[in-house]
């Protein structure tokens, strides 16, 4: 198996850490993985994106021109990555702040109202966990228990009491995807 994933949005939306949890989950599942961020000032308020490649064989290029899965969380990212999804691939987007919706018909497009869900849950910080849950609900990349172990690995020890909240958010995202 091989999943070539791009996750893109605003800096501060938790794009990089979402990718990191996926990467750790893959590691725990004894898969090969690369996590390649667009780094620099983009992390601070501008657009942020990360390429995560998960494979059962060694990964050659960490830099890609097309993706199996694109998770886009703002208009700029949608504009940038919609046409880079491989035919037959999937595009997941949050319509919050998106004015021009995706138009491609050769890929599967999923709209996820993760921002609304996070507001309902009363905590905008778990937004990226809802998105991650939706991604996992739509694509069987890594099993849930590996994701939870990956999450624990990326959370600093002092934040481990937030594990239940994060898990709840992931499950909420999965439920959104099932709709």
């Amino acid at each position: 198996m091989k999943e070539e994933i791009i996750i893109a949005g605003f800096g501060g939306q938790g794009v990089l850490s979402m990718g990191k949890i996926l990467a750790y989950a893959a590691l725990m599942n004894e898969l090969e993985v690369t996590w390649m961020p667009a780094y620099g000032p983009e992390q601070r308020g501008g657009t942020a994106n990360v390429t995560v490649i998960i494979s059962d064989s060694p990964v050659s290029s960490p830099v890609l021109d097309s993706y199996d899965v694109a998770v886009v969380l703002n208009q700029q990212s949608l504009d940038k990555f919609e046409h880079k999804v491989k035919p037959g691939g999937i595009l997941i987007y949050d319509s919050y702040g998106v004015h021009h919706r995706p138009t491609r018909s050769d890929i599967t497009v999923h709209e996820i109202k993760a921002m609304d869900a996070s507001l309902e849950m009363g905590n905008s910080k778990i937004y990226n966990m809802i998105v991650l849950g939706a991604l996992l609900g739509l694509r069987d990349i890594v099993p849930m228990d590996a994701v939870l172990r990956g999450l624990k690995k990326t959370l600093p020890e002092r934040h481990h009491h937030l594990m239940p909240l994060n898990e709840e958010a992931i499950r909420r995202g999965q439920a959104l995807a099932a709709k």
Partner: protein
Amino acid sequence: MKEEIKLMKGNEAIAHAAIRYGADGYFGYPITPQSEILETLEELMPWDTTGMVVLQAESEVAAINMVYGGAACGRAVFTSSSSPGVSLKQEGISYIAAGELPALIINVMRGGPGLGTIQPSQADYFQAVKGGGHGDYKLITLAPSSVQEMADFVGLGFDLAFKYRTPAIILADGIVGQMMEKVVLPEQRPRRTPEQIAEQCPWAVTGKPHHRGRNIMTTLELEPSAMEVINNRLQAKYRIIEENEVRFQAYDTDDADYLIVAFGSIARICHKAVEDARAAGIKLGLLRPITLWPFPVDEVKRLAAKVKGILVVEINAGQMIEDVRLACHDSVPVHHFGRLGGIVPNPQEVLDAFIDRFPESAS
């Protein structure tokens, strides 16, 4: 013992690997995209465990001179920076080479010239492999293409530096510095004791015991005939390194009609381009020099005799291509593809460039 597999950035892997190697000291100044090396070392606090010294210097100039001082004491010391900072270090690197001191320098390259960009680049190839500072000297130059190699080359770099008493440089780039991958770290080794250092490095400046003469680390020699002797000794050493320390990796070169030569993380991108080319029926192979100096001259020569053309892919305006052309004496067409300014080409762009340069390959 089960291997301990971790997921981390290349920069973080360097910090972990150095502590585990038993390095004695790190001296550096922050600069993107390599600041995680210093940050990780400060977070790990090795002074409490192995006794390793970690110091944020006031400048790159100070940092490389701290390395010069530490190396003169026979200690395993290193520094890291990115392109503009490595330019600042060049004077000190020249002194370290002239003093025949073992030291490790890490350059996580970003785009230049000038303050440039913080995005990845390979534009410091010439600076690393042709000397960089003043005078005739060479740096053993290792080009990692994975996080695992970032970790492994710390130990390799130190070992080679001590074996030949000459500085080594890890020439990385922003991609492999910032990327996270799986890595198996080496086992923790103890730092050498002062007694072991005195035995292994009898030249080390450690304070003069009564049983030996003074150890003086100087690179000054005003007598031209004596300075020529020093230079000849350096050059003789470099010839030995060229004979013994060439490292490279080849993919699909056995039956290749065409060859890509690329180093560092760009070789990974080219590897994917080779896979895609093979899928399209083009017999393309890849040679990845691991040591940029000493350069794999013989392997390039050997492969050039078998293929119809060579594409050199670098994220610079064409630097390693000069060494490729020197190695094969232009016996086959050698073309270049590069992106500048911090832009990293993707595998499709590489393949498109290859077909553009060698249209007959697709027929």
